[in-house]
């Protein structure tokens, strides 16, 4: 046994740490091939005047024209503004809904586990399907939402949801909120369940009201979870492609064109992949900053 194994006896104390590298190798190779290499290609493309990426052809001369064009383009700044608006609106709404539902189903009542399942169910609906649902609900002629608004007397003629910039933005935001709040709900619920009952018992003994218990126990205990969740939700909105693209394609009049959508449009509708890569690299920088922020918030995770 010893003779045969001698060549690669990783159990020997002096070689045990080799295994760490060996186990990591497949992941490193694969990640290098399908993530790192594409990232490098992406950065490289962003410094070339490229229409359709052809890796088998000699690279074009180095130029910073894409970036110059990008930072002077009103479309880019519009996309930044839309992205920011969407992040602020959707994140805050997701938090109100998510925290609210989490607090609600964290109560003790019969059927609580079913309620928990139902409340977070949109999480399990694929984004494309969510788009189908909301595209129909906000249909201009026979959609439910127009009928509801008309019946309530909020409007006197039907809104054309997908051709009015503000209305389209509202539809996109609504869809994203519905798809996004369950994540906040699930995370907050997990956070709520990790708060020891003793804290509440002690607060009751001290005569704290329900509102005070929420303010001084629940929310402070949830803060770490909320911190990480906020970053994740914001990143999700920042990155999202399918909801906006299938729902509005970024229109009308670029009212729903986020940086993600702009990148994709430039690359695959106008075939300006060099320019699109430049936008992509800018988003990458934003992602790295966000990643650093999450790391600082959750140092234990490494």
């Amino acid at each position: 046994m010893a003779g045969g194994r001698f060549s690669l006896d990783l159990a020997r104390p002096s070689r045990q740490h080799w295994l760490g590298y060996i186990l990591l190798a497949p992941a490193v190779l694969l990640i290098a091939a399908i993530i790192v290499y594409p990232l490098i290609v992406s950065v490289d493309l962003s410094f070339q005047n490229v229409g359709i990426a052809r890796l088998d052809q000699p690279r074009r001369p180095f130029t910073t024209a894409n970036y110059e064009r990008l930072f002077t383009s009103p479309d880019f700044w519009n996309a930044c503004w839309v992205t920011l608006k969407l992040i602020v609106v959707v994140t805050s709404a997701c938090f109100i809904l998510g925290l609210g539902t989490a607090l609600l189903v964290n109560n003790r009542f019969k059927g609580r586990s079913v309620a928990r399942l139902l409340v977070a169910m949109p999480w399990a609906v694929p984004e494309v399907i969510a788009v189908v649902i909301f595209a129909w609900i906000f249909d201009s002629s026979f959609g439910l939402m127009n009928w509801v608004f008309l019946s309530l007397g909020l409007i006197d003629k039907t809104i054309n949801w997908f051709s009015d910039p503000d209305a389209a933005f509202a539809v996109v935001a609504t869809t994203m909120i519905w798809k996004g709040y369950p994540f906040v709900s699930i995370m907050s619920l997990a956070g709520l369940q990790s708060i020891p009952e003793d804290y509440y018992a002690a607060a009751r003994v001290d005569g704290a009201s329900a509102l005070q218990r929420l303010r001084y126990i629940t929310l402070p205990c949830l803060m770490p979870v909320i911190g990480v969740t906020t970053v994740l939700v914001m990143l999700w909105i920042f990155r999202d492609f399918s909801i906006i693209y299938v729902l509005t394609g970024g229109g009308p009049l670029k009212a729903t064109q986020t940086l993600s959508i702009m990148t994709y449009e430039q690359a695959f509708s106008f075939f300006r992949m060099g320019y699109a890569s430049a936008i992509g690299v800018v988003t990458l920088v934003i992602c790295v900053i966000a990643a650093k922020l999450t790391m600082r918030r959750a140092p234990d995770n490494l």
């Binding site: 694929p126 249909d139 009928w147």
Partner: protein
């Protein structure tokens, strides 16, 4: 503590109302699918069809290759999850147990990769797949989904392995296992629930993708995934919401079923390591 009756009633009322409002879109999808197409063009809308048209599912399955799409989605997910799991189990274990030089930076990179937008990677991947002739093939979508899944699964599995005491593999090694033997004979069997949750989560990630499928597979009809198929219907069937809804239900069903029955695992994966 026992609550008073009014408080309990109020609680139940709010729970029922909240659930009703939040679930309504899903309910509306079902109602739409089961309605006669001309009924959908009437106002006020009907909140339950007069005679539910169950045959719509049969009809849509005949008209559209839904099963092919679902099969493609499943194949892409299985392929991507298998590749990702093999790689991430090993890497996650290494990151959890060994002090590897550069391990810290690799972990940081993986965390960053989790946050990369698909729209960033899709351009170079498009170039790479075109060059290698993979464009339009299932391999393109499997590899692209692996870029989505690997960062998540590696991170989740590292977190899971961190919860398993080191003494387990130390005992196994004293008992005569090689370090790899300890991993496969002891650590992996013990981690089965964590492995299942992680794989399931990867499956959902792959199943939900649209960006990669739309970019790489649009011209390869035979390889369309479910999400891609549905969006092509939306484009052309502007008026036939009943059919799209029926198809959507069929596509959403697998994930919804997984969610309803394995919610504990999925949620466990979602919240792992992030509540610190």
């Amino acid at each position: 503590m026992r609550q008073s009756l009014p408080a309990r009633l109020f609680l139940y009322a709010s729970v029922v109302l909240t659930c009703a409002v939040l679930i309504f879109p899903i309910y509306w999808l079902v109602v739409t699918a089961l309605s006669q197409p001309d009924q959908l063009r009437q106002l006020p809308p009907k909140f339950w069809p007069d005679e539910p048209r169950w045959s719509v599912f049969g009809k849509i399955l005949e008209e559209r290759p839904i099963f092919l799409w679902l099969g493609n989605s499943a194949l892409a997910a299985l392929g991507a999850v298998t590749i990702s799991m093999v790689v991430s189990v090993l890497a996650g274990y290494s990151l959890s147990r060994f002090r590897v030089r550069g391990g810290q930076s690799l972990g940081l990179f993986i965390l960053t990769a989790k946050m990369l937008p698909a729209t960033l990677l899709v351009i170079p991947l498009f170039g790479i797949f075109r060059m290698t002739g993979l464009i339009g093939s299932m391999w393109s979508i499997i590899l692209a989904h692996a870029t989505l899944i690997i960062p998540f699964t590696t991170w989740m599995l590292k977190g899971y392995f961190d919860t398993i005491p080191r003494e387990l593999e130390q005992a196994a090694m004293v008992d005569g296992c090689s370090p790899l033997g300890a991993l496969f004979r002891v650590i992996l069997p013990v981690s089965a629930p964590g492995l299942a949750a992680t794989a399931l989560y990867g499956f959902v990630l792959s199943w939900s993708d649209y960006a990669y499928a739309r970019t790489f597979l649009t011209n390869a009809q035979g390889n369309w995934t479910a999400n891609l198929g549905i969006t092509t219907m939306k484009g052309e069937y502007i008026s036939n919401w009943a059919d799209i809804s029926a198809a959507s239900i069929l596509v959403a069903l697998p994930i919804l079923v997984v969610y309803l029955f394995l919610e504990r695992y999925l949620v466990g994966g979602l919240t792992a390591g992030s509540d610190k």
